[in-house]
């Protein structure tokens, strides 16, 4: 699709020219280690100061009318945010703004140093602005989160294997449910737009870097600071609320809840920054000739997804700040006694919550739409329909939040309208299916790992989508709301569709990100273990849901025993498959088959650059002359 000729000599910045050596300044001395040190110092410093201020966390603070719990919450929240701030100072995130403030903008050499130019692996532990480094950092971060969330999922299923909750106590189970939920949600929000949106997308559109390299690094490192905060929930007694953190249960919850609040607030910041960055990059930095109708579909999907996240997450952040105020300064947002209402929380949460599931879904689907044409060797069927599908979903998704609140009684008269908007989402969703099956029609697919994911997606998302239609129907929701049926439904959409898409994307772009091919046998074994196990697991859960088992219960009646046993069996298979996938990723990245520049014979720009990708991606800016899906022999 481009006339770009590539000269291997220039591929490795280190060999092509002398490595710049900026004079030893503060910038060259800071890294993750210093960040940790400063962060921990800030955190413990704050903790001890506040402990001293409250003389003891358990003292009743009568003069303020606040109880020991409020003091504990103030102390913990402040310490967590100071950790975050300290880490960012320590890693040098604030140098840029400060230098701007005093009018001494970063010099070209300093910017090059920040970009990790000609540096070794150490740059992965620095405040590195190179989008490819950030992409890998995101990939590792996502895999860590998925590992943690998956472990919790195994715990949950183990506890539910038989009635009686014999494995963990109910309070531990509730924490498992909640922290599994939020860990996986965070992981899935960044699973495609993080690694591929940062590493691949700028190359796909022929850009030299992201629009705001420093914001790019910021979005990752801010997210990074949230991970230990989230983990600390376990050491503070866990959370009793589930990932929805419904108030007033969250106002009542113990110290662990603070970790949840802090995590969400920090994560929302990261999302806003990343959203502004990616959107601007795509809008303003496309290669010459890449008109809007020539933009690869993954780029469109990722952009719509992050653009949707930008307005969505602040409402969640606001809800969390309100919960935090209720928990620290005893405000009355959610305390009905003083004029608050849990319905307020539910609204704010779901105004984020429903767009958010499409923020998760769209990039996964888009990745598969990128993959399908390459392996079926046919053009993408109806590019326009794909765009319409994404846009339609994004547009409708901000009008459907209250379908999570049919049974809350907050405003029954609105159930009808929200049912209408919700059901209408099935139209743009149908277009996504049409694009995929149209692309496959009369094709002879090249059966590689990425293509397998496309088939898995079609099956899983079909089930997820159709069950969604029952759930969005108010009368049926009278029975299904809050039951295991819902859990099964959204796992089919989030895990079966979005995560499957992301894994397909990983298999597809792995050669470009690591220079090696993903181990095929490992990939196949893992694929079948995961997909079969997944379907057993969640069909079993549809069964227990239809039988009337509520969600998030540590213990259940004898009549649900068989369904839960089936689910647990499936879960173990998924876990095994996930471990094998993890192994093949690590093994292939270290000692896999060396990948050619364009192993799949794809026509998008990222396959025109060598591995390792040069600092500025392209020796000279590429020029796009056609759409990226020019496969296929013309039909007479």
């Amino acid at each position: 699709m481009t006339t770009l000729t590539h000269n291997p000599a220039a591929s490795d910045p280190a060999t092509s020219r002398p490595v710049p050596q900026p004079k030893k300044s503060l910038i060259t001395r800071l890294h993750m280690g210093t960040g940790m040190v400063v962060g921990i110092v800030f955190c413990w410093g704050t903790y001890f100061v506040l402990r001293h201020h409250f003389s003891s966390p358990y003292r009743i603070n009568h003069d303020e009318g606040l109880t020991d719990s409020h003091n504990v919450n103030i102390t913990l929240l402040a310490s967590m945010f100071m950790w975050c701030l300290g880490f960012l100072i320590g890693i040098g995130a604030l140098i840029g703004p400060f230098r701007w403030l005093i009018g001494k903008d970063l010099t070209a050499e300093e910017q090059l140093y920040l970009a990790g130019d000609g540096q070794d692996w150490k740059r992965y532990f620095r405040y590195c602005t190179d989008h490819k480094v950030v992409g890998i950092q995101y990939l590792v971060g996502v895999m860590t989160l998925l590992g943690a969330g998956g472990t919790m999922a195994m715990m949950i299923r183990t506890n539910l294997v038989t009635p009686g909750s014999h494995f963990v106590a109910p309070h531990v189970y509730n924490s498992l449910v909640g922290l599994h939920g939020i860990t996986m949600i965070i992981a899935l929000i960044i699973v495609s737009t993080g690694p591929f949106g940062n590493f691949i997308m700028p190359i796909m559109i022929g850009a030299a870097d992201m629009a705001f390299p420093r914001l790019n690094a910021l979005s990752w490192w801010v997210l990074f600071t949230a991970i230990p905060v989230l983990c600390s929930a376990w050491f503070l007694g866990g959370i009793p609320t589930g990932w929805t953190a419904y108030a007033p249960l969250s106002t009542q919850a113990g110290p662990g809840m603070n970790a949840f609040l802090a995590t969400i607030i920090i994560f929302a910041l990261s999302t806003a920054v990343a959203g502004a960055n990616i959107t601007t990059t795509v809008v303003a930095m496309r290669a010459k000739g890449m008109t809007w109708n020539r933009v690869p579909i993954f780029v469109v999907g990722a952009t719509i997804s992050v653009a949707l996240a930008v307005p969505a997450f602040p409402t969640f952040m606001a809800a969390m700040i309100q919960t935090g105020l209720d928990r620290t300064f005893a405000t009355g947002f959610y305390d009905a006694n003083v004029g608050g209402s849990g319905w307020l929380y539910a609204n704010l949460f779901w105004i984020m919550g429903h767009p958010e599931v499409y923020v998760i879904l769209i990039p996964g689907v888009a990745a598969l739409m990128e993959i399908a044409p390459v392996f079926v060797r046919k053009p993408l069927f109806s590019y326009g329909a794909a765009i319409a599908g994404f846009a339609g979903i994004a547009g409708l998704s901000i009008l459907v939040w209250a379908h999570h609140m049919y049974m809350s009684g907050w405003m029954p008269s609105l159930n009808g309208p929200f049912m209408v908007t919700t059901e209408f989402i099935s139209i743009p969703t149908g277009l996504l299916f049409l694009v995929l099956i149209g692309t496959m029609w009369r094709g002879r697919p090249w059966m590689k790992l990425p293509m397998l994911s496309v088939y898995a997606f079609i099956w899983d998302f079909l089930i997820g989508g159709i069950t969604g239609i029952y759930l969005s129907d108010v009368p049926a929701d009278n029975y299904l709301h809050g039951s295991m049926y819902v859990t099964a439904h959204f796992h089919y959409t989030l895990m079966g569709a979005a995560l499957t898409g992301a894994i397909g994307g990983l298999a597809f772009w792995f050669p470009k990100m690591t220079g090696r091919m993903l181990n095929e046998r490992g990939g196949y074994i893992s694929f079948w273990l995961v997909q079969i196990g997944f379907n057993v697991l969640f069909l079993g859960m549809f069964l227990s849901g239809a039988e009337g088992q509520p969600r998030r219960v540590a213990d259940y009646a004898q009549i649900f025993a068989h369904a839960n046993l089936i689910s647990t069996a499936g879960a173990y298979s998924v876990g095994l498959g996930a471990l094998i996938l993890l192994w093949s990723i690590i093994h292939s990245a270290r000692s896999g088959k060396i990948a050619p520049m364009n192993p799949w014979g794809s026509k998008t720009l990222e396959w025109t650059v060598p591995y390792p990708v040069p600092l500025v991606n392209f020796d000279e800016p590429p020029v796009v002359t056609s759409d990226p899906y020019g496969y296929g022999r013309s039909v007479k």
Partner: protein
């Protein structure tokens, strides 16, 4: 340079090893959680001693069990050396109870805590005991004033096809100043509450306190009320 075959077997072994390691990690996490689940908090076993004819005319084996409610967990010998969270009330010495099936269980409780007001007045009434009454220092009562309660012993469980329903609600009278225990000092007289109920078949049940004795977090149901092993526990009928 290893031959393809050996390198392949190497790969396979590597795969197996890393998968096993992964499983071990998950298992380790699981055991830790299991260990911290406080599932094996001290269990009180009701001891059968003779038989008794219940008001319904049937004859049951008669089992007895004692437990206490303290104003400060330090006095309940169940939370390890620390004595649990300072200033939190607690049942003790038993959190989990084990009762024989189809038995007339007589439970005696010594209670030493004060109280204010129930969130839900219903739990001030005695439900599910023999005769619908409890005995407080020799007096039979069928309910307490809404603001005369220190804690409640509310026993309930999953209503499943496979186990008999069992619901008992016993409000415990609040003790006046001076009758409440102080950590370290000898126990005052407090109140002695005695009541009986008849267990059905085998089954798993739970009990929890319905008096809002958490600190001023939302509806006073946070803190101790949300923590395991102070104001809630398991009841197993065997």
């Amino acid at each position: 340079m290893a031959s393809p075959a050996t390198s392949q077997s190497k790969t396979a072994i590597g795969a197996v090893i890393s998968v096993v390691v992964g499983i071990l990690v998950v298992a380790a996490v699981g055991t830790t959680l299991h260990a911290h689940s406080n599932l094996d908090a001290p269990s009180g076993y009701a001891k059968v001693n003779g038989t008794i004819v219940a008001p319904d005319g049937k004859t049951y084996p008669h089992a007895f069990i004692n437990d206490n409610v303290f104003a400060d967990a330090a006095d309940s010998k169940i939370h390890g050396s620390s004595g649990g969270h300072a200033g939190w009330p607690s049942y003790g010495p038993y959190i989990n109870l084990v009762l024989p099936a189809h038995t007339y269980v007589t439970m005696t409780m010594h209670v030493y805590d004060g109280g204010e007001k129930l969130n839900t007045p219903y739990f001030a009434s005695v439900v599910g005991t023999v005769g619908g009454t409890i005995n407080i220092d020799g007096k039979n009562v069928s309910s307490l004033p809404n603001d005369g309660v220190q804690h409640t012993f509310t026993l309930h469980g999953l209503p499943t096809s496979s186990q008999d329903p069992l619901f008992v609600n016993v409000p415990l009278p609040k003790t006046p100043e001076g009758q409440q225990d102080e950590p370290g000092s000898p126990l005052p007289k407090g109140y002695t509450v005695t009541f009986s109920f008849i267990t059905g078949g085998k089954g798993n049940y739970v009990w929890n306190c319905e008096y809002p004795c958490g600190d001023s977090t939302y509806q006073s149901f946070g803190a101790v009320m949300g923590a395991p092993g102070y104001m809630n526990g398991k009841v197993t009928v065997i």
